[in-house]
């Protein structure tokens, strides 16, 4: 593909048609996977309406909104609420929200600002940060970055609360430039020291960040060559004005939505960065450009990412139309290396190949088994392949395999893998089952076992 039309909207052609694989690709990147109905509808509707549906989402169901708010209330989620409950609350939203792209982008920004409850130790503050991030996840990054300076969770995480006149803490100023807006090489140590003075005197009052002028250094500071009696919001504004800022953010979003292995050339990034700045950092517009583009639907970008644990788990539950509890799922995610609201460091999760190693692969295998076998008390039969296959009136083993491959891999599997799965079903028919098993038990068992095998295929680990 030539660079000039990389960001032009994708139009299906005979050589590059709109198909089920592209629907799956879009739902995986812009959401957390798809149900069979969503795949069918997307394939039938074409790229335009499908993208509209994902970009705009649907209104949240009243029950979902009410339940999520109840669970986020102070009585249900007090400051000392266990990490598992906090993580599960967000995972529940990812599984049930009618606007999965918004949750996905919230995940992106939460990892961008990488605040961990392991240090903050306050579920109320973490939920407050979630609300700030979610509000601006597809909106203005400018407002998000400014708001982050007085976000209580961030103030605890990067020690703004202990930063006072005469004793400034540089942590927030440093990460604001290095990790949140510019990247290494676009600021000096002096910029950091000066900016740190602008962030002195901020305190948490009644769960809100506020400036205590007595502790604030209101003398002049020189940052990026500009001089003024800057406060925190002024430093955020100065960062946003730097040419490196849109470049840095577009590259990061490119890695998240399109490819983490491909290093995009400047010619590819520059047009988007220019537009991002022109739009006053309208993230929704940037995301839309990326998701609609030829580049996004190019064959090289297909399955070019490794699923994060959250994407792996949500993809299974959505595909099986299950109602597995988010609490045991969130606990299982820890074993796979991803605890929501608790990234491992200020840099967030490494992602990409770091998601997979011998231990996490075994963990994915075991979790897939626990979800699909119906024999694990954490999940029961709430995510039962046999039940969903029956619901969709799939009659025999061959049809069941076809259905499972369609929903999870859009039927795009190597011949060898398909043969192994078919072979398993053939041999499973000859296995002698215990006498007390009914014929339905036997066929359900085969359906669950083959579903587990599908979920452990290498292709299913890719996004």
């Amino acid at each position: 593909m030539t660079l000039p039309n990389a960001w032009a909207a994708y139009e299906p052609t005979a050589a590059n048609p709109w198909d089920r694989k592209k629907v799956g690709h879009l739902y995986r990147r812009a959401g957390f996977g798809a149900t069979i109905a969503e795949l069918d509808a997307g394939e039938k509707a074409g790229p335009g309406p499908t993208l509209e549906r994902l970009l705009n989402g649907a209104p949240e169901a009243d029950d979902f909104t009410r339940t999520s708010a109840f669970m986020a209330s102070e009585r249900s989620m007090p400051p000392g609420a266990p990490q598992g409950r906090l993580s599960a609350w967000w995972l529940d939203r990812m599984l049930k929200s009618a606007h999965p792209l918004r949750e996905k982008m919230t995940l992106f920004w939460q990892n961008h600002f990488a605040t961990s409850n392991a240090k903050v130790m306050n579920a109320r503050y973490m939920l407050g940060q979630y609300q700030l991030v979610q509000k601006h996840s597809l909106g203005s990054f400018s407002e998000l970055l400014t708001g982050m300076g007085t976000d209580p969770a961030m103030m605890v995480w990067l020690d703004t609360i202990g930063s006072t006149k005469g004793n400034p803490n540089e942590n927030y100023a440093r990460e604001l430039m290095e990790l949140f807006s510019l990247g290494i090489g676009h600021y000096t140590e002096k910029d950091i020291r000066e900016a740190a003075r602008a962030f002195t005197g901020y305190e948490i009052q009644k769960s809100t960040g506020a400036l205590n002028r007595r502790q604030h250094d209101d003398t002049e500071k020189r940052v990026f060559g500009q001089v003024g009696k800057f406060q925190g919001a002024d430093i955020a504004k100065l960062c946003l004005e730097q040419p490196a800022c849109p470049q840095f953010l577009v590259r990061k979003l490119y890695a998240f939505l399109i490819s983490e292995s491909h290093q995009p050339p400047a010619e590819l990034i520059d047009p988007l960065a220019v537009e991002y700045r022109k739009s006053n950092f309208d993230t929704g517009q940037l995301v839309e450009t990326m998701l609609r583009s030829n580049h996004f639907f190019a064959p090289e970008r297909y399955r070019a990412k490794i699923k994060s644990p959250v994407e792996f788990v949500c993809g299974i539950v959505k595909g099986l139309e299950g109602s597995a509890g988010a609490l045991p799922l969130a606990e299982a995610l820890e074993g796979l290396g991803q605890v929501l609201f608790a990234p491992p460091s200020v840099k967030g999760w490494d992602g990409g190949p770091a998601w997979l190693n011998a231990q996490t692969l075994l963990g994915r295998n075991n979790l897939a088994l626990a979800l699909t076998s119906g024999e694990d008390n954490r999940f029961g039969t709430r995510c039962d392949p046999a039940a969903v296959i029956q619901k969709h009136e799939v009659k025999d083993d061959a049809a069941a395999l076809k259905w499972l491959l369609s929903v999870f891999l859009q039927d795009d599997v190597p011949d060898a893998a398909r043969e192994r799965l078919t072979g398993y079903l053939a041999t499973a028919k000859d296995v002698k089952y215990p006498l007390y098993w009914s014929p339905t038990d036997v066929s359900n068992h085969r359906a669950r076992a083959v579903a587990h095998l599908v979920l452990t295929l290498p292709e299913f680990q890719l996004n």
Partner: protein
């Protein structure tokens, strides 16, 4: 199905001519080397006592347990049971009689990992036992085949007894109507020899004689622990040797550890009672020979062990015990060592400085009586309009005085502490007249922020105290203080049992109200834990609270007689 019946019949026929007579008592099959023995004389009676409970039946209907009942594993277990009932031609209660009607026993031997374990089922119907064993072998074999496991049932022989083995961890054999199962082949062989020896020359396992010595007949299940064997282990030797030098252990578990160190065995029996169950634990070592310093816990002969537990309206838990703090202080140089003693003596000097007018700790402890009562009670009305983030029930403490001067000294000390509360937190003092008794109380202002307590936990407390006769009442709320004064003014019940040195009672139904206070996080955990909707989760928690309200009370007593250490736990379902 026809083919399977044929295989099953063949297996049954092959297993039919097993030799030997019934070993009626399952303990006759347990080698003397076993150190823990659990026996149910009549498993059907035990099973029916549990399954017949209203609480058991209600528990099965709880949605919180529905996932377990609906799980594939549980469904398979039900199918297996139905299959076994169908193949053997009897329902499970009858099958329990046929296969284990003479008793079921389990035994364990320490030393190696995994510990050798043995299960003995002594049946009443040899034919059915034979058929059941054949069926079990067949089902196991098929299950292993389904799983693609390498293991299959292997057969061997010992003294004309067929032994079946699956892998190296499951071995079983039948002698007459007795089935033996073990995780170790050597253990199984020892059990076979023991069973055969018992048939030739009746033997009595020490568990049988020891249990009969200390427990009444009629236990649904009994447990015997060979303490001689336990005490021979190095870990136990180190533990018992270390107790006397550890003040904390002496303070908390001194009597229990001392009695165990002198006993040859521990026995426990579960009994059905008209209103529930009783668990009796007996240790054949008591007050005779008790280490001197344990006078801390045990009163002189002839004096009450403890006072009857308090039970004001709304009680959740009540605890009454004997602890002679004066004795501890008097003998502190001997009982308390190192830093603990230094800290205590420093605290004695410091407290009177910090709390002006208060008595010295040592003087107070020596005057303090040995009978203590603690109670946790639900509120009728919350003490403040402002609600704390975490709502706690009220709790109170009643102390006795050994010396009348204690009553004055403790009041002075508590008043001095109250002054600190007034100065530091702006609390307001008030005096309430309760039926002629003065209840002194301190209250936090509701219109003042306290940065140290952002969650408003202080709004659970309205601390108060009063003197009633020769007892001092301290309570976390005025409401409870008043209730306790009323309790203490009542005449002591004539039938009150004062022998136990510890008496506790947990009112599970009242505890359900506490659970209700924490409903929102529980509902949240149900939604997130099981993926159900909010309305369903609310209903489930309401059902759980309703179920807990039917669970009655759990009462515990510890009595130490001259020769015996006795613990009784009574679960009474109709005492609500």
């Amino acid at each position: 199905m026809r083919r399977s019946r044929f295989i099953f019949t063949l297996l049954a026929v092959a297993l039919l001519p097993a030799p030997g007579l019934d070993a009626a008592d399952p303990l006759d099959s347990i080698p003397a080397s076993s150190q823990v023995v659990l026996v149910a004389e009549n498993p059907r009676k035990l099973a029916e006592a549990i399954t017949g409970l209203e609480a058991f039946q209600k528990a099965q209907k709880l949605p919180l347990l529905r996932d377990i009942y609906d799980s594939t594993t549980a469904q398979r277990a039900y199918q297996l049971l139905a299959f076994v009932e169908s193949e053997l031609g009897a329902k499970w209660p009858e099958l329990l009689d046929q296969l284990g009607g003479n008793g079921v026993a389990a035994a364990l031997e320490f030393g190696t990992d995994p510990a050798p374990a043995l299960l003995v089922l002594s049946g009443t119907d040899e034919k059915q036992v034979t058929r059941a064993m054949a069926l079990a072998v067949q089902v196991l074999d098929e299950e292993y085949a389904r799983q693609g496991a390498k293991e299959r049932v292997n057969w061997s022989k010992l003294k004309s007894v067929d032994i079946a083995a699956i892998g190296s961890d499951l071995h079983f054999a039948r002698i007459g109507a007795t089935v033996l199962l073990s995780n170790k082949l050597e253990k199984l062989k020892a059990a076979i020899e023991q069973t055969q020896a018992s048939q030739d020359r009746p033997q009595t396992h020490p568990a049988r004689t020891d249990l009969a010595k200390v427990l009444p007949k009629g236990a649904l299940a009994s447990l015997w622990l060979n303490m001689t064997a336990v005490k021979a282990t190095q870990e136990a030797k180190d533990f018992f040797a270390g107790t006397r030098g550890d003040f904390l252990q002496t303070l908390v578990l001194g009597c229990t550890i001392d009695c165990l160190s002198r006993a040859d065995f521990v026995a426990a029996g579960l009994y059905a009672e008209p209103t529930g169950f009783r668990l009796r634990v007996r240790v054949p070592a008591g007050r005779d020979g008790l280490w001197d310093d344990l006078a801390l816990h045990v009163p002189p002969v002839g004096q009450p062990g403890s006072l009857p537990p308090l039970a004001p309206p709304g009680t959740i838990a009540s605890h009454s015990f004997h602890l002679d703090a004066g004795y501890m202080w008097k003998h502190r140089d001997r009982m308390i060592t190192g830093d603990t003693l230094r800290d205590l003596e420093k605290a004695e000097k410091d407290v009177s400085r910090i709390v002006p007018g208060s008595a010295k700790i040592g003087e107070l402890l020596e005057m303090w009586g040995p009978y203590h009562r603690i109670v946790v009670v639900n509120h009728d009305v919350r003490p403040y309009k402002k609600e704390p983030a975490l709502k706690l029930p009220a709790f109170g403490y009643v102390a006795t005085a050994r010396d009348k001067r204690f009553l004055t000294s403790i009041q002075t000390t508590l008043s001095a502490a109250g002054v600190l509360g007034v100065l530091q937190f702006g609390m307001k003092a008030a005096e309430h007249d309760v039926d002629g008794i003065t209840l002194t109380a301190y209250r936090f202002p509701e219109n003042k922020e306290l940065p140290e307590d952002p969650d408003g936990l202080r709004f659970n407390f309205e601390p108060c105290f009063a003197v009633v006769g020769d007892e001092v009442v301290m309570a976390s709320t005025v409401e409870l203080g008043k209730k306790l004064i009323a309790e203490l003014k009542k005449p002591r019940p004539a039938r009150a049992n004062t022998k136990p040195i510890i008496q506790s009672k947990l009112y599970v139904a009242a505890g359900a109200a506490v659970l209700g206070e924490f409903a929102d996080p529980l509902i949240t955990d149900v939604v997130l834990g099981r993926g159900v909707g909010l309305a369903e989760a609310r209903k489930e928690i309401a059902q759980l609270v309703g179920f807990i309200q039917t669970l009655g009370t759990i009462q515990g007593e510890l009595e130490i007689t001259a020769k015996e250490y006795r613990v009784d736990l009574v679960w009474s379902l109709f005492d609500r």
